[in-house]
Symmetry: C2
Subunit: 309 residues, 2 copies
Amino acid sequence: MTVVLAVDAGGTKMAACVVDAEGRLGPVARSSTPQDEAADAEAVWRSLAVLLEPYAERPDLAGVGIGCGGPMIWPAGVVSPLNIRAWRGFPLLDRVRQIFPDVPVRIHNDAICVAVGEHWRGAGRGADNVLGMVLSTGVGGGLILGGRLVDGASGNAGHVGHVIVEPDGPACTCGGYGCLEAVARGPALVAWAGEQGWPSAGRDARDLVSDAGRGHPAARATLERAGWAIGIAVASATHLCDLEVVAIGGGVSQAGPLLFEPMAVALRRHARMEFARDVRVVPAALGQEAGLVGAAALVLAGDRYWSAS
Amino acid sequence: MTVVLAVDAGGTKMAACVVDAEGRLGPVARSSTPQDEAADAEAVWRSLAVLLEPYAERPDLAGVGIGCGGPMIWPAGVVSPLNIRAWRGFPLLDRVRQIFPDVPVRIHNDAICVAVGEHWRGAGRGADNVLGMVLSTGVGGGLILGGRLVDGASGNAGHVGHVIVEPDGPACTCGGYGCLEAVARGPALVAWAGEQGWPSAGRDARDLVSDAGRGHPAARATLERAGWAIGIAVASATHLCDLEVVAIGGGVSQAGPLLFEPMAVALRRHARMEFARDVRVVPAALGQEAGLVGAAALVLAGDRYWSAS
């Protein structure tokens, strides 16, 4: 039985494992991504390459699937991840191909890989029209319509984090205003909560979610605001794309009902077209491994998730 | 050379014509849609059937494509158009099939047919990722991604009129708030302009556009507000779907630069992701015939525009 090597190139750590045709993961090898100022592109590459080279001669390897933070030139796989500063225009796909010259090597945005994983083997399984969302340091996503991954003109479809939820709202890292990401990404939550009196110094979104769970009013209000914004974005996406399922993962989604309940209220207020009322918004099911599962699916289920030549 | 019969079932008039494989239209036959209170479903059907029956025996007819206002149960073609009150749960597709039992008969939302027409033979030709919009009594649309029409879960993808542009904005006919349609549909423009001092009594959006062209300040401000709202919706759609072209038609779009220029300003403010900056927003090219061209394409180019079984 053939396997695929799945790769997740992240700002904190690199990860790789084999995945079989059923989506089952082998042991995951991990290394820390060099983050210090002195780390150059090659040092970061070495932190990944050491994970991959042991698989180079493996005879049952049918391909390699890579998830990496955007932006990237796609499908060329020249990456400039926001969270890996040493890689600017780094030819990641070509480098991996040099290790695995005889099998297909495919790459996509890491949030797209999460969405693909959730569609193939997770919370979106069985539905043909699914938006996968990742709420974390950024807000990313991927879009499956008609049972197939939507790439869009440049491989960037699924950027639900830049759906506008508050036109006069806060400035976004993209340069725009009022994007979902500007309201709901982890650092934005921390900053807003701080303004509402939550002690934010030196703390992150995980702390915020934890405090909200213990009833801190400003922390709760922050998650309520974020949930509301997510509900508006989901309503817009559902109306535009006629979605069946929205699967929401990422660290911020760990807030659970404190986030999902206000989201549901906003969704009920705004998703009013009859066809949109039944959209199911569910927590992602695969946890941290979703991106690896999805990266593998770029090869293992390429008929649905890979359209580039 | 085979032809397809294209049908447009509208609230004001019914229309039908043959379309050849190049998208060229034959003479268009039209009849008025009975609008009086006494008109029942069968009377409305007769106004359409008289246009279709002359084609029943035509030997070169390869199929029939129908555009009709929504909502409808799709692909079953059981229609309840907002603008044809006598049809509620009317089995339009089955009725047309009774006239043409030996060829494929296909139906879609009329705004989707416009988008398909513009993609196949109009302003979106050559692009693979296109949103077609119709600004009229309502705001409709259709979505082509990866070169193929997106249907969504129930044939309702493309409802860009219900993307949320102003979460605390006006109530929408759908029951929601702040949808693009609630701001930018013709009757909403007339109502808002009236509140700003434009003499609206007994007048419609066509009059508003005309007065704006002559420099009436409240009429201009109304189009500027609508253009701004359209720009926000287009930015959201472009980020979510990685669009190349947005083609805008319908009566309200006749306002031209008075609408498109504020739209472009809002789009530049909000569509800031690098991949989104180059989206081209263009006027629709096919005019009133776009819906007929698109209806024909459901059959003539079914590989791209028809996914239902």
